[in-house]
């Protein structure tokens, strides 16, 4: 039960992102996580985890719940008699991406107080995941799932141009913030504070 094995190339890549993230301002420094975690006074908590938000997406059953939630959304949309199958799929895709954008890339900070004196206050949930370490399994899962939804939506809408534009725009809105280069980046200062 050792920590995840890390390849040397992966280590260099990760060190690169973290070094650049650190240069961009210590607020978004990814190397803070575990080291900071070790020196915090966690009053009233039963573990030494500084920010539980970082581990939520890794917990048991979270991915299954998420998949079931998307499935539920789709079934509800399919049951509405006005929507044809292509419309239902596009709506599933768009609503899912909208929800993902809001909860992972728009809302900042934690819904509870953390003992790290607000290091994560300006970070979105995506940036907080695993203390900013990139290419972890949760990040990969949540990057791939909108892509899979996109494939399914494209297929079921029979590649109709209008649906295509909508679906692609929606997918890009949720994929671009996940790129490691955009870790901590706020374009035009939107959502900075």
């Amino acid at each position: 039960t050792a920590a995840a094995p890390r390849s040397a190339a992966g280590n260099r890549r990760r060190a690169g992102w973290e070094r650049r993230a650190r240069q961009r301002g210590d607020r978004f420094g990814a190397a803070e996580g575990r080291r900071a975690q070790a020196s915090k006074m966690n009053v009233g908590v039963a573990h030494s985890e500084v920010n539980p938000n970082t581990r939520v997406m890794n917990s048991r059953g979270m991915w299954l719940t998420y998949a079931l939630g998307v499935g539920m959304l789709h079934i509800v949309l399919l049951s509405i008699p006005f929507f044809s199958v292509p419309v239902a799929w596009t709506l599933t895709n768009v609503i899912h991406n909208l929800g993902m954008y809001v909860f992972l890339h728009a809302v900042k900070g934690t819904p509870f107080e953390t003992p790290d004196q607000g290091k994560a206050r300006l970070l979105t949930h995506w940036e907080q995941l695993d203390y900013g370490v990139q290419f972890t399994s949760s990040r990969k899962f949540f990057t791939i799932s909108p892509i899979i939804l996109y494939f399914l939506a494209s297929f079921y809408t029979k590649y109709d141009p209008a649906h295509f534009i909508l679906n692609t725009a929606s997918l890009l809105s949720v994929l671009i913030p996940k790129l490691p280069q955009l870790h901590g980046v706020r374009i035009f200062g939107i959502n900075k504070y």
């Binding site: 039960t1 050792a2 920590a3 995840a4 280590n11 990760r14 060190a15 973290e18 190397a31 803070e32 996580g33 575990r34 080291r35 975690q37 070790a38 020196s39 915090k40 006074m41 966690n42 009053v43 009233g44 908590v45 039963a46 573990h47 030494s48 985890e49 539980p52 581990r55 939520v56 890794n58 917990s59 048991r60 059953g61 979270m62 299954l64 719940t65 079931l68 939630g69 809302v107 900042k108 900070g109 934690t110 819904p111 509870f112 107080e113 953390t114 607000g118 206050r121 695993d130 203390y131 370490v133 972890t136 399994s137």
Partner: protein, 518 residues
Amino acid sequence: IHHITHNGGLYKRPFNEAFEETPMLVAVLTYVGYGVLTLFGYLRDFLRQWKIEKCHHASEREEQKDFVPLYQDFENFYTRNLYMRIRDSWNRAICSVPGAKVDMLERLSHDYNWTFAYTGRVIKDVINMGSYNYLGFAQNTGICKEAAAKVLTQYGAGVCSTRQEMGNLDKHEELEKLVARFLGVEAAMTYGMGFSTNSMNIPALVGKGCLILSDELNHASLVLGARLSGATIRIFKHNNMQSLEKLLKDAIVHGQPRTRRPWKKILILVEGIYSMEGSIVRLPEVVALKKKYKSYLYLDEAHSIGALGLTGRGVVEYFGLNPEDVDVMMGTFTKSFGAAGGYIGGKKELIDYLRTHSHSAVYATSLSPPVMEQILISMKCIMGEDGTTFGKDCVQRLAENTRYFRRRLKEMGFIIYGNEDSPVVPLMLYMPAKIGAFGREMLKRNIGVVVVGFPATPIIESRARFCVSAAHTKEILDTVLKELDEVGDLLQLKYSRHRLVPLLDRPFDETTYEETED
């Protein structure tokens, strides 16, 4: 599944520890529960902001709305939308000695827990399953009380000074000799506060250039002490000896981060019993590792002193080890002795060093005389030196109660964490609504319990924590078990599928992300 001995011969008794994994359906429903609560939280916040709903919590005045806010609104989200709903399970007012039974003030809330009103009625004889009253010394009658009252008239209530100035009484010397004799170490030193024993002494023992290896679930006092010391801290998985060995190996092979110099000291911080999990440290393996890699061991026996072992000497006696193997034996008098304060025991050189260098000895008030008398009498009682077998009976009764309680709960089908012999019994609830419901139902049935949820525990591991005491008679435990049976059926808490996970595969996520070192 019984995992009897690994590392053949290190363990002289079976070590049965189990943490049954969260059932998948329960985990999914827990997330759905938190999701629904979050969505409703957003809805209520929206209503409050647009003044459709009355806002009960503190907010800025109208004139101050343009100022930069002092606190981030979102950080309070959990408190106002989740915690407030079930707030009546915590901070209940008691009005008698919290022994095996306690009297509570009844309170009602007419605005969904934003404010409380006391009805004036006292709920009498609520069975107390929440106090760390392991040996039953939390009482206001008996020999301890008589002796403490006498010392109070003789010495007064407080010393008003630090150990190094005028606060060193003859009682302190007597107490320290007794503690050293009790633990089987050369010398001991006592402090006024259990928390500060850790936070003030770890900085005196280690400093910059030293390495601290601390368990994942260590108490806040250990974490604070480690932070104040300035040493490098590395965390190993809870009670996981492979993780600890890997860290030790890496530390010795690679040395300090940039300079590769050897570490000045390596200190392993563990606790005897972990109070939220009910697990007991694997002391024989830790001691073997410590000897192999030549590091030091700091054992915090806050919950295990008095509660484990044939004669109540703690986790060292429980495993049949030599007290000299543990370099720093720390403990508190708060739990099993019914007093306050902490102690550190070890070699005479160590204690002499701490007498001059500990922050607590220089700046903190020393133990107060009536408290010391309580400790003296209770410790002599446990050791059997007062001529009766009362102490020994208490220790034995605690062990029997623990085994009985745990066995019956497991038979009923609840998921219980921790070691078979630990008097701390966490009963898993998992879902956020059940936390509130469980606390309230148990109070309706006249039983007081401690419940705990996210973010104090991992998100899918909310629990109710019972502390078995020697003061609980079998009738009391049977009453509690009967009520638990009913509540368990009512709330559907009997999740156990009797499928114990092997001890090495603790159900937390395996990959945790380490910092990259400079």
